[in-house]
Amino acid sequence: MLLDQIIFFIFAAIALAGAVLVVTSRNAIHSAIWLITSLLATAGIYLLLRAEFLFAVQIILYVGGIMVLFIFVIMLVNLDVAIRQIQFNRQTSVALVLALAVGGLLPLAHYFLGREITLPPPHVAELGPNTEAVGQALFARYMVPFEIASVLLLVAMIGAVVMAKRRV
């Protein structure tokens, strides 16, 4: 149905516009706000892909957790001075060309080789209730990676505490 495609374009446009503004905003707080916008649009895209659980995780963890942390830090390190300085470094032009070249590879490949490289046809099988499926996979097949991820988080937590607590 067409509705899905319209929704996709709306969310994609918001995500892309937000992303561009993240990179170009002078003020870090504005960057953060645009990043939040972009992340929310991405959450919408997850919903479009029937990944409801990921949608909730994206908003609770990414937007409600990580982005609050970002804004918190931006407010702590008062950036009044930083705003008035030059925002882009000296390698900007080179970086732009390189990044766009890498980013252009996919459209080029699609344009020239689009007919030869095709995705296998999509599976029609329904995934069933998303949360249950994710839970089953996470705690059965991906048990070890899950535990490793929790160790990673613990290490990060200790690291962050040590880092922020140190007084020189």
Binding site: M75, L76, V77, N78, D80
Partner: protein, 380 residues
């Protein structure tokens, strides 16, 4: 308002976190500086590393005015210093001038003065309790306190026609005889009040949040308090049993029995407990006094025109906030040569810096509240 551009601290920028510190300008317009006190807080995050009080926003030159008024004319002015304890101010001034003249108020006047002053002490402490609790975030005690304070103010109004700045006493005694039913009013108030103090205490004394907010906050040792010159509940909460009512009795305090409550640690909680107990003791004094009001004249013979002999006098009383002293120099005319007031709030306020260092920004509010300052008295 937070305004860092006018800071007096050298080398300070606006950064919140980093090598430098944050300057928060608290007051003169702030909900919990009890008037127009302005405190500059030097902070590291939310932790206070230094304070600086800026006073004078309510300065009216009361002491200078005294030099151009006759002795009785100046009496209403002292009511405007500690305007929540006007009766106590008036008592101190009247007794100081009486001492200067060598006169003495008749016994009946002295007992009535004692009753009114103790009621005023209760009223002042009630106002302190209400606003202090409000500063710490408890909304309800304020209204309970005002309910009882209203009863006291009604007694004042019936006695002398004014509620706040009463000008109740005259040099040499009293101008007004007590009204019919004065004793009953005071007794009724005292009887009701016993339960009311318990009611406040049930709201606060054993409340966990209240304990956490006041215990160990704003500690000052007895030695430090003495060094600063702090008096009243501030020094008593640190453990020093110093009360002018006992040490140098004035009015009729030597006739009545009462205890001087003291604290141990000198923190905000002890000051709270001391003041609560003082209210009970004041009630006790009132009850004793109201049954024993002697009959007789209410005014000593001081003459129409007051001309004290050349000389000087210092007289101090135990005002609700501490030692309120008047130093009066007379050159033999109808007007004082010099009047100097020793206001308890002003001197107790000096303890602020010592109490606040190392506390959080929320504690400074509790500490200003616990010092029980009145800016009218600090600035004069």
């Amino acid at each position: 308002m937070a305004d860092t551009r006018t800071t007096d601290f050298p080398n300070v920028t606006q950064t919140v976190l980093g090598a430098d510190e944050l300057i928060l300008n608290m007051g003169p317009q702030h909900p919990s500086t009890h008037g127009v006190l302005r405190v500059k807080l030097r902070m590291d995050g939310e932790r206070i590393t230094g304070t600086e009080c800026i006073i004078g926003y309510l300065h009216r030159g009361v002491e200078k005015i005294a030099e151009h008024r006759s002795y009785p004319q100046f009496a209403p002015y002292v009511d405007r210093m500690d305007y929540v304890a006007a009766v106590s101010n008036g008592l101190g001034y009247c007794e100081a001038v009486e001492k200067l003249m060598g006169a003495e108020a008749p016994p009946r006047a002295r007992v009535v003065r004692t009753i009114l002053t103790e009621l005023q002490r209760i009223a002042s402490h009630l106002l302190w309790l209400g606003t202090h609790a409000l500063d710490i975030g408890a909304l309800t005690p304020l209204f309970y306190c005002f309910r009882e304070r209203e009863e006291i103010l009604k007694i004042f109004e019936k006695y002398c026609g004014a509620r706040l700045t009463t000008h109740a006493f005259r040099i040499g005694g009293l101008l007004y005889e007590t009204y019919d039913g004065f004793e009953e009013d005071v007794k009724r108030f005292c009887n009701d009040f016993a339960n009311r103090v318990d009611e406040y205490e049930t709201l606060l004394t054993s409340n966990r949040i209240w304990l956490e907010r006041t215990k160990g906050v704003g500690i000052i040792s007895a030695a430090d308090a003495i060094a600063i010159g702090a008096t009243g509940p501030v020094v008593r909460a640190s453990g020093l049993k110093w009360d002018i009512r006992k040490a140098m009795p004035y009015a009729a305090y030597d006739q009545f029995e009462f205890d001087i409550p003291t604290g141990k640690t000198g923190d905000t909680y002890d000051r709270y407990l001391v003041r609560m107990e003082e209210m009970r003791q004041s009630r006790r004094i009132c009850l004793q006094a109201v049954d024993n009001i002697p009959t007789g004249p209410i005014m000593a013979k001081v003459g129409k025109v007051l001309k004290p002999p050349v000389g000087e006098v210092y007289h101090s009383i135990e005002a609700p906030k501490g030692e309120l002293g008047y130093y009066i120099v007379s050159d033999g005319t109808t007007q004082p040569y010099r009047v100097r007031v020793r206001p308890p709030s002003f001197i107790n306020l000096q303890a602020l810096d010592q109490m606040a260092r190392g506390c959080l920004v929320a504690d400074i509010v509790a500490i200003i509240g616990t010092l029980d300052i009145v800016l009218g008295e600090v600035d004069r």
